[in-house]
Subunit: 156 residues, 2 copies
Amino acid sequence: MTARRKEFPTAEELRIWRDFIETTEALRAELAARLQRESSLSPGDYAVLLALREAEGRRLRSSELAARVGWERSRLSHQIGRMERRGLIRREECVTDSRGAEVVLTPEGAQAFRNASLPHLRAVRELFVAALTPDQLVAAQQITTALRNHLTALDT
Amino acid sequence: MTARRKEFPTAEELRIWRDFIETTEALRAELAARLQRESSLSPGDYAVLLALREAEGRRLRSSELAARVGWERSRLSHQIGRMERRGLIRREECVTDSRGAEVVLTPEGAQAFRNASLPHLRAVRELFVAALTPDQLVAAQQITTALRNHLTALDT
DNA sequence: TCCTTCTTGTTGACACGTCAATCATATGCG
DNA sequence: CGCATATGATTGACGTGTCAACAAGAAGGA
């Protein structure tokens, strides 16, 4: 009998998949909840503030910011709108390209990031790093790399 | 000099964390996009249909359904509302408890699940299982378990 | 220049998730 | 019984994410 190319996951593989995706989701949710509790920031807020904090002049073109956080422009636009209403960032017109917008970190935004940063790092350590042995951490990295490579290989 | 209890992740650990969370998120998004394309179902739809499909009489008390998919009742209520509008499920009053509601799988819902099931399993295999070596799959399981145990240990 | 085409960014509609409030019914205790 | 409390479920408000449509300026060639 000929070996047929495998098409479906086994029950065991499926179970591993479900546990994996549910656990990562629970992890994400717990991190988000803590960030919200301790700093009144969403993960999106944090990502944007971090990118601006590390940017030259604490400002970025909208597209560049989208690229750095890895979002579509539309998503960023909504996010920026909400953050501007709360005073965390400010929009400015771009001098070199009148279509463009620049996103600028406000003092309030910088302060919010400072307040959030250490508790957030602590949480990452407590919920992720401290949960794994050094070997497991290495394995996690390798698995991540394998998944990502596989994923990006597919959409080309 | 005394050893101080480690409080923050190293830059390396932080990088691993960020890659990990971003990759699992990308994976989740790709699975969701395929499910949507191929079957016009969201992951939430799929989870609910699956739970009902496996339930005695293809019906469940609302609370029980929420427990099986691991959601809050509120979230389920919204989801059920959307699915009922599309005819995938139906709400019925509960005989034994007049506060209660039962969620019933409709023929349309059952059909939608059948259509979605195989393509979804194929996608899980293609995007997750096939990306990893057997060793990595085992490692993924162990990491998942470690993370979950750690997580549940904390909120007690 | 004029016209097409690309890029930048915004908007609106809608699905989704969380939280707090609400409502009705069940339950348990005096 | 009568009342406080718990439970089952829904709702509304709001933040978030995706998608498609759009507006307006930039770029580049005929």
